[in-house]
């Protein structure tokens, strides 16, 4: 039951993009087309889940045993950066078009604070291993959901009659903020 709660909380209630406002850079950067945002979302799910698992092992297997918990941030960044490299190689191998579509935003997952955020929150909330992995996956799924929704809105906005002053990023910001407000409605669920 607790795992289910974590999953729902991660996807809807504590959505990283829309209620914690982490990882906004790629949220606005890669959400032009639904196709690429799906790819980006899957990459983030992968990185977040794996990063949660590995950082859990590092935190409790190495750092806590040696009393070096203060190295948490720097060690986690190391893990996240390496994982992103791995994902980048994998995507380049498997889908060149997705690799080109993601462009600069793929390496930018390294500095995506949502990934580091999920790892740190796992430790802060003292989740166990399973819960950490579930929370990581839920964070990634929430990210994917939000970015696909925004991409769909932007595709519609592209062909709509938007006032000239609001075309492009301004209308995207407004759409994103309205999404954040509507996601606020989930906070009563748990």
């Amino acid at each position: 039951m607790r795992i289910f709660t974590i999953l729902i909380a991660g996807v809807f209630v504590n959505n990283f993009l829309l209620s914690k406002f982490l990882g906004i850079c790629s949220f606005l950067g890669v959400s032009k087309k639904v196709d690429t945002s799906i790819g980006m979302g899957i990459a983030v799910i992968f990185v977040m889940t794996l990063a949660s698992a590995i950082t859990y092992i590092i935190q409790y297997g190495i750092l806590a045993k040696l009393g070096l918990e203060y190295l948490q941030t720097i060690a986690f960044i190391l893990v996240v950066a390496a994982l992103v490299q791995l994902v980048e190689m994998f995507i380049k191998k498997s889908s060149m078009s997705l690799y080109q579509a993601l462009g600069i935003y793929l390496p930018l997952i390294t500095t995506n604070c949502a990934v580091l955020g999920v790892c740190t929150l796992n430790i802060q909330n003292s989740y166990n291993f399973i819960e950490s992995v579930v929370n990581g996956a839920a964070g990634g799924i929430g990210y994917t959901l939000a970015i696909i929704l925004l991409a769909a809105i932007r595709e519609r906005a592209e062909v709509s009659d938007v006032p000239e002053a609001l075309q492009g990023f301004p209308i995207t910001m407004i759409a994103a903020s309205l999404m954040a407000i509507s996601f606020l409605g989930f906070s009563g669920m748990l």
């Binding site: 190391l78 893990v79 390496a82 190689m89 994998f90």
Partner: protein
């Protein structure tokens, strides 16, 4: 004390080492064979990432050239020299067409076409044009606030002290940024060996042109009649040169009553294959006044 420092360093070092080895193994497994010509082509491109070729930066251009989507002379910045090098890599002959160069199609400087209103806004043509089309009387002329100069990355454009931009053709690479930014479409790209220009864009009737500018084209059509090569025509109160027919002879320049036509002082190679088309004196259309 020392152990407090050494232990964290060693621990982090070991973690980093393990990750590094894992990445190295993964890099070998997921290695993608790129066309080796892409980095070669990329190396001879200028690397300005100006986007003048229409691709996202020099990397995009190099990839497109190797794929065959773009011609070997796709880079407008590098010109013939780069195209030759790229052609050598790609094993293709180079189409050495005449490079383009930016040209200011307006002669209305602050003396010839004075401002009619005072403008105190931002020093940017695209801002000024919002205020009733800019401070000049002529709706088609250069605003003279130098947006083209600030956008030029190759130091090829400068404002003269009479508030007109001036192209340094030795620096201009025809990237087209000035053409894109000019709200009045005064900037254009023309073949580099073209030295006769209509220095006016005004499609107003002759009387209005005269009111607003001393050197505007009034669409009288004298140049059209003078031209031996059928290269200049009045279209909508404005003389327009067909660069493929113009021989740079400058006969029209001498006849132009308003001096809207100019001939540059520099020397260019004569164009081949142009024969005078001797026209029967056309029925004189009365000049629109």
């Amino acid at each position: 004390m020392a152990t407090q420092i050494i232990i964290p360093v060693v621990v982090l070092g070991i973690i980093a080492l393990i990750i590094g080895v894992a990445l190295a193994v993964a890099a070998k497994r997921f290695e993608v064979k790129e066309d080796e010509r892409i980095p070669q082509v990329r190396a001879v491109l200028p690397g300005a990432n100006c986007g003048g070729c229409g691709y996202p930066g020099c990397d995009g251009c190099a990839a497109a050239i190797v794929k065959g989507e773009a011609p070997v002379n796709a880079c407008p910045v590098g010109g013939a020299a780069v195209a030759e090098k790229v052609g050598a890599i790609m094993g293709e002959a180079v189409d050495n067409s005449m490079p383009n160069v930016a040209q200011v199609l307006c002669g209305g400087n602050c003396e010839k076409a004075p401002r009619q209103t005072e403008y105190y806004g931002l020093k940017d043509c695209n801002e000024a044009v919002v205020a009733n089309g800019g401070p000049k009387g002529c709706r088609f002329g250069c605003i003279g606030l130098g947006s083209c100069v600030s956008v030029c990355e190759f130091d090829a454009l400068h404002m003269t002290d009479k508030m007109l931009p001036e192209v340094n053709i030795n620096h201009c690479v025809a990237c087209g940024k000035c053409v894109d930014i000019c709200p009045k479409n005064v900037m254009t790209l023309i073949p580099k060996d073209q030295i006769v220009h209509v220095d006016c864009q005004s499609k107003e009737k002759g009387k209005l042109v005269r009111q607003n500018c001393e050197v505007g084209c009034i669409g009288c059509g004298i140049c059209e009649k003078t031209c031996m090569f059928d290269a200049i025509h009045v279209q909508g109160n404005l003389a327009v040169i067909d660069y493929s027919k113009c021989s740079n002879c400058g006969a029209c320049v001498k006849k132009c009553p308003t001096h809207a036509l100019i001939k540059e002082g520099r020397k260019v190679a004569p164009r081949k294959g142009l024969k005078p088309v001797k026209k029967a004196a056309p029925k004189t259309k009365p000049a629109e006044a």
